[in-house]
């Protein structure tokens, strides 16, 4: 372990400083007590903003200039347009055009469409990225080509970092499907409608300067105002903010893979047989193949049992919207909206509610509703025999996925990871995960096509499945069976001792390190 490294409570070696800032190593779930006040931007006054409410300027470059863009600043953007986003690149290119250098790009998540940021890093415009890095950006970071360390945070952790002042955003650029000249923004209407704008809310409140970019300007007032213009400095109108076909899908397809469908069926049966499924319960479901399919099974079980949920947490899709329409849930609490049915529902049905990471995920608040969810169904790239899980790297240690809301969701009453037992010969259950993203004490159940493994800590769940015909097995049993199929345990990944990124826990402490891969 290098002198700059320290072992944390999860037994992982983590850097003492990251990008020049001192860090707190992970201490355990609920062990870290924050002792400072929230970060706030400078107080602004109405005297500096037009009484007409018209904050429009000609283009992004002008807005950035007026915001006082300078070298080394933190520029934030958001991923509610997912792989159809054009605004992040537009903003960074405009900054490049103004000669800015060494910026820190602080996206709420990045997508393959953001690959050109690699070029901006090569040109010195962007110094490093703090945010999820998928695909090409992940590989770039893993190969040690970024000047600073990557910092991976959950959606709730990003709110916490902004609120606590760990990341001081100089300029937030918010892409809006609909906005008015005052800066009020709405995500549920307009040609690029995406549903909720919750990911941008923290930035709008805490950033020094806020720019709104829209391709659908409406006269004041833009209703609903998910982002309040009172926090906005400038409004820029552009031709297009994104590619709607990549923002939401027309329809969301349920997996056809028989193994995934089987896994989904086990998940639904587990929720039913343990008694979690009862009147007034709640669950979370994402848009992944297994997550969508388990909802279909659970729906039939809820109908058969005459059970209605109080709320469902999504990742909303047509399948959750159907639950609402069929009176199988009172509310959808929506974090992001994945298909057209979801967008239409959030725009028209008051029971379909847009949420932000503040209400759903922020650990440094007076509670958040993630812990009120009875069951959450998530994925993972790897799980170890002690139930620690990884979502950011694959077992070869290469950074490939963001954390999203995954860490935050672990606080649900029952956290279920629904995963294949192996992918392309590579076992998913291992002795030690490459990167700890979620600690074992919060991960309750692993469901695979080969059976259901319950964390021995959850004696209550183990008791509740007695008598169920679910294939309940130990995690070791499944691991041994899989290794028998794939030809033994995999070779150890070859990594260097050079950190390229860190994984933050929900309280801002450093949970693990992502290492540079060997050439």
């Amino acid at each position: 372990m290098g002198s700059g490294m320290v072992e944390n409570a999860a037994g992982r070696s983590v850097p003492r400083t990251v990008n020049g800032l001192d860090q707190v190593p992970y201490k355990g779930v609920g062990e870290h007590v924050p002792e400072t006040a929230k970060h706030a931007p400078r107080i602004r006054s109405c005297r500096d903003y037009p009484a007409s409410g018209d904050k429009r300027v000609a283009n992004l470059a002008t807005a950035l200039e007026k915001c006082g863009l300078s070298d080394g600043m933190v520029i934030s953007t958001h991923h509610h347009f997912r792989n159809g986003d054009q605004v992040a690149l537009m903003a960074l290119e405009a900054a490049a055009g103004l000669g800015a250098k060494d910026l820190m790009w602080f996206p709420s998540a990045s997508f393959p469409c953001h690959e050109p940021v690699i070029d901006l890093m090569d040109r010195g415009v962007v110094h490093h990225i703090e945010g999820s890095m998928n695909g090409p950006l992940g590989r770039h970071c893993s190969e040690g080509k970024m000047r600073g360390l990557g910092v991976l945070r959950s959606h709730g952790g990003r709110w916490q970092a902004i609120q606590d002042g760990e990341v001081k955003i100089d300029i937030a650029v918010i892409a809006a499907p609909t906005a008015d000249p005052f800066g009020n923004c709405d995500g549920s209407h307009g040609p690029s409608a995406c549903g909720s704008l919750g990911f941008a809310l923290a930035d709008s409140v805490h950033a020094e300067r806020v720019i709104v970019v829209t391709d659908n300007l409406v006269p004041f007032p833009c209703i609903p105002w998910q982002i309040q213009g009172n926090n906005v400095d400038y409004v820029v109108e552009v031709e297009s903010v994104g590619d709607p076909s990549k923002i939401v899908s027309g329809t969301t397809q349920i997996t056809k893979s028989p193994d995934r469908l089987l896994t989904a069926e086990y998940v639904a049966r587990f929720i039913r047989d343990t008694g979690i499924m009862k009147d007034g319960f709640s669950f979370q479901a994402g848009a992944g193949g297994i997550a969508l399919a388990f909802v279909q099974h659970l729906k039939e079980m809820m109908k058969a049992a005459g059970v209605k949920a109080r709320f469902v947490r999504g990742g909303s899709t047509q399948y959750l919207v159907d639950l609402l329409k069929d009176e199988l849930t009172d509310y959808i609490l929506d974090g992001q909206t994945f298909d057209l049915a979801g967008v239409e529902s959030i725009a028209s049905d008051p029971r379909h509610v847009a949420t932000s990471p503040f209400t759903s995920y922020n650990y440094h608040g007076k509670g958040n509703f993630a812990s009120l969810v009875d069951a959450t169904v998530l994925g993972a790239t790897e799980v170890d025999v002690n139930f620690n899980a990884n979502v950011v790297t694959h077992s070869d240690g290469v950074l490939l996925h963001g954390i999203g809301g995954w860490q935050n969701c672990l606080f649900a009453g029952c956290t279920i990871l629904a995963i294949p037992s192996f992918r392309d010969r590579i076992p998913i259950i291992v002795d030690e995960v490459a990167t700890v993203t979620g600690p074992s004490e919060l991960i309750d159940v692993i469901v695979t096509e080969r059976g259901v493994a319950i964390n021995p800590r959850r004696e209550d769940l183990l008791e509740r499945v007695v008598g169920s015909d679910l294939p309940v097995r130990t995690i070791e049993e499944i691991k041994v069976e899989v290794e028998g199929i794939v030809g033994g345990p995999p070779q150890k990944a070859v990594l260097t001792d050079e950190p390229v990124a860190v994984v933050k826990w929900v309280d801002g402490t450093v949970l693990d390190t992502v290492w540079k891969v060997a050439d």
Binding site: D259, R423, P490
Partner: protein
């Protein structure tokens, strides 16, 4: 002079499989060039498997190129072996991979055969988890789902799968090709003790006898003494006419089934979802099977997306006397099991009849009665059969249920 052989699959959509190109040289030793998406995890294992197969074939000088998409060891071994055979190389020692799953016990004649899941013989990725879906049987298919140019490859893949894939509680069936090619298939698969051989396009009892003789010859040579059951498939008008002779051709025939795609083509009609055009043929097959004292098994339902249509078809099948049908997708298994299960009222009535029968037997009475009603012998027979099936299907405990 160099000789080349290639095997396996290339392309974007290939998963759990690989492509192999072998060039046999006179000199230069072995050069193995592996490109694998799982190379970081299993590169050493791939090298070992490759070396083992080359050893078995006594190949000293060769260039081997592997483009692997996460294939399991039994698949890698099969593809390399196929490439070598295609290059004209014969094995010097046993080239088969070591058994990684134990040989499951022989199955009973009257085993429950409600569902049998077809697995195309040259698509190993579909084998790996097939058993998890709990079909009563899997069929490793060497016939219609395998392209004529890939028959040799499928045979080796299927052979290796019988040694290395755990199909859990499923009966392991192999559908061979039409004779005479099917007899060569037997040479490769029978030493691995599949539970049952499906004989396609059966039209004469003689075909069944030829298969039986070959199976026995191979077993004798290999020193194997356990039953390999036979299930002839009737797929033509002539086959229907000879159904009873086929069913009774040899004692190893445990079931008779029908293939409706080929049958409807043979009589020159279109196969419909209602199946009216094949009613006669299906009833003939049922009758021949029952006359022979064996199981009657229906064809497949082709529309995987239409679960309701499948339920209707299967319920209809059961009412005609069939005891099971084929599946072309794992999601068809559960609806088929449900359709072929006796209904609760049916089962309750049967249990009462069986209880009355046992009571009468115990008391040494010649007449079985339930309340004031006398029960005829055929009713007792049907009830006994139904209760037996229900026990096999796990609907009632093996040792209980007869007290009504």
């Amino acid at each position: 002079m160099t000789v080349r052989g290639e095997a396996g699959r290339v392309g974007e959509d290939v998963r759990s499989d690989l492509y192999v190109l072998v060039t046999i040289n006179k000199t230069g030793g072995r050069k193995v060039d592996v490109s694998s998406k799982v190379g970081a995890y299993y590169g050493e294992s791939i090298d070992q498997v490759t070396a083992r197969v080359l050893d078995a074939f006594g190949v000293e000088h060769a260039q081997v190129e592997l483009d692997d998409k996460g294939a399991l060891p039994f698949v890698i071994a099969a593809r390399i072996e196929t490439a070598l055979r295609r290059a004209g190389v014969e094995n010097k020692s046993d080239a088969r991979p070591e058994r990684s799953v134990g040989l499951t016990a022989a199955t009973e004649r009257e085993r429950l055969r409600r569902s049998r899941l077809y697995l195309p013989g040259n698509q190993p990725k579909l084998f790996i988890n097939a058993g998890l879906h709990h079909p009563d049987a899997v069929i490793l298919d060497l016939e219609d789902s395998v392209h004529a140019d890939e028959k040799d490859a499928a045979r080796i893949i299927v052979r290796n799968a019988l040694r290395c894939v755990d199909f859990h509680d499923a009966e392991r069936m192999v559908r061979i090709n039409q004779l005479p090619l099917g007899l060569e298939d037997l040479d490769v698969v029978v030493p691995e003790s599949p539970h049952l051989i499906l004989i396609p396009k059966t039209e004469h009892a003689d075909q069944v006898r030829r298969v039986r003789e070959r199976v026995l010859e191979i077993q004798e040579q290999a020193g194997i003494d356990r039953p390999v059951w036979l299930m002839p498939i009737i797929e033509s008008a002539l086959g229907v006419e000879h159904a009873f002779e086929i069913a009774t051709a040899v004692d190893a025939v445990v079931a008779l089934t029908i293939g409706l795609e080929d049958y409807t083509a043979d009589i020159g009609v279109v196969k419909t979802p209602e199946g009216r055009e094949s009613l006669h043929a299906r009833l003939r097959v049922v009758n021949a099977a029952k006359a022979a004292g064996i199981q009657a098994i229906d064809s497949v339902y082709g529309d995987v997306g239409d679960v309701e249509g499948l339920r209707v078809w299967a319920a209809n099948s059961r009412s005609m006397g069939f005891e099971g049908m084929g599946c072309i997708h794992p999601r068809q298994i559960e609806p088929i099991h449900q359709a072929f299960a006796p209904s609760q009222p049916e089962l309750e009535k049967a249990l009462k009849v069986v209880a009355a029968f046992e009571d009468a037997e115990a008391k040494g009475l010649g007449v079985v009665s339930l309340g004031t009603k006398m029960i005829d012998a055929p009713v007792v027979k049907r009830a006994l059969r139904l209760v037996d099936q229900a026990k096999r299907a796990g609907l009632i405990p093996e040792n209980g249920g007869s007290d009504g």
